[in-house]
């Protein structure tokens, strides 16, 4: 943790990890999706539409996992002022929002044939849509706060922490309230899902997660590079202004 507080050391590790994570993630995802689309069986009631599962569920988990990561990083930023924590949180937001959007879109596509509707305002669907809007708000706030280590960054972190309240609500929405969305199939080592579906789902989740990790590292490197470029430009501008004064 503290060893990585040094951005130079972090950058060395990140540079080394980004490509293997992305390449490995793409390979594992390709295998999982081919498995899910062509090898895994059709489900008894849903038929072929069950195959949306292998994109929908990993996206949902990572959309929620992304905000959990934002909350943890925000906490670390607020308490320990860890220089990389805020950068990590901001790097997670875009892929997290993207996965959440993919979850909502694939869920809607599945809902039409399975339920008979594209969308309903039940607890699960509504709270997941709220998560997407929270991501939009977070991105707008992080953008407005800029890259400087100022109060704006702290406001963004507080927003990331408060928004985490929605994560347990999403999880428990199908247990606390009657909803059209089904309750979780997998919980605490038990699965109401046959292994024929479960194994490709887990492989797909590994692939999606690796891609997520690779994208986050790449974005953190980009944000750090941006900050360095800005510092250098500012130093140069100061130097020029100073030399003009001297003339």
């Amino acid at each position: 943790m503290h060893g990585l507080a040094n951005p130079a050391r972090f950058l060395r590790l990140a540079r080394w990890l980004t490509v293997p994570l992305l390449a490995g993630g793409l390979a594992v995802t390709a295998v999982a999706l081919a498995w899910g689309l062509f090898v895994a069986p059709a489900e008894g009631l849903q038929g072929e539409t069950v195959r949306i599962l292998y994109v929908h569920v990993p996206s949902a988990w990572l959309g929620m996992g992304g905000w959990t990561a934002i909350a943890v990083a925000s906490f670390v930023e607020l308490v320990w002022r860890h220089p990389l924590a805020g950068i990590a949180a901001r790097a997670v937001a875009t892929p997290g929002a993207l996965y959440t959007a993919v979850c909502l879109i694939t869920g809607s596509l599945w809902g039409r044939p399975a339920w008979g509707t594209w969308w309903v305002w039940d607890g699960r669907l509504t709270s997941m849509l709220v998560l997407l809007f929270l991501y939009f708000g977070y991105l707008a706030l992080a953008n407005a706060a800029g890259s400087e280590n100022s109060g704006g960054s702290r406001v963004t972190a507080i927003f990331g922490l408060v928004g985490a309240v929605n994560i347990p609500i999403i999880h428990y929405s199908v247990l606390w309230w009657n909803s059209l969305h089904q309750p979780p199939s997998i919980s605490m080592g038990k699965s109401a899902m046959a292994p024929d579906f479960l194994v490709p789902l887990l492989v797909s989740t590994v692939g999606f997660s690796l891609i997520f990790g690779g994208v986050v590292l790449a974005r953190m490197r980009a944000i750090l590079a941006d900050q360095q470029a800005e510092v250098r430009l500012r130093r140069k501008a100061f130097a020029e202004a100073a030399s003009e004064v001297a003339d």
């Binding site: 069986p41 059709a42 489900e43 008894g44 009631l45 849903q46 038929g47 069950v50 599962l53 906490f75 607020l78 308490v79 320990w80 044939p113 399975a114 339920w115 008979g116 509707t117 309903v120 305002w121 039940d122 607890g123 922490l161 408060v162 309240v165 347990p168 609500i169 428990y172 929405s173 606390w176 309230w177 009657n178 909803s179 059209l180 089904q182 309750p183 979780p184 199939s185 109401a192 899902m193 046959a194 024929d196 579906f197 479960l198």
Partner: protein
């Protein structure tokens, strides 16, 4: 005061804020426990029938053997039950493909004065069980044999 490091002060403050936040969220969720439900179950309809002109949603299981098509060929009638109460439902129109006896349904409509639920839309509810098609079509006994063989 000088004994407390700013780092620890922030940690304590933030921990207190988080506890308050989680408490507030739980209270809000608890207050919403009835309002946020997507449908009523039959025992709730039986205990407290909604006004005849109020649009409500009724959710439960389509009772085995209760599904009937009426003489006009497009109206169906069935019972929705939750193990405690059952409500007769009538619906005219196209049903979703997952709609069948023994599985979950959410009916949107109104409760008529005679206690029949007149649905103007049906949504099929999928449960959390995912079973391959081949296993679903087998009898319970056959399915157990297949599972036993593969283990």
């Amino acid at each position: 005061m000088s004994a407390i490091k700013p780092k620890h002060q922030r940690l304590v403050l933030l921990a207190i804020a988080l506890v308050a936040l989680i408490g507030a969220a739980l209270l809000a969720a608890w207050a919403l426990r009835n309002q946020a439900s997507y449908f009523y179950v039959p025992s709730e309809i039986a205990a407290d029938p909604p006004a005849p002109d109020r649009a409500v949603r009724l959710g439960g299981m389509v009772e085995q053997g209760s599904l009937q098509t009426e003489a006009d060929g497009v109206t169906i009638a069935f019972f929705v039950g939750d193990g405690e109460a059952r409500v007769p439902v009538r619906f005219q129109g196209i049903v979703p493909s997952l709609f069948k006896e023994g599985s979950g349904v959410v009916a949107e409509g109104k409760l008529a004065a005679d206690g029949t639920f007149i649905a103007d839309n049906l949504l099929a509810k999928h449960d959390e069980k995912y079973v391959p098609r081949e296993l679903r079509e087998m009898s319970e006994h056959q399915a157990q044999q297949v599972v036993a063989e593969t283990q």
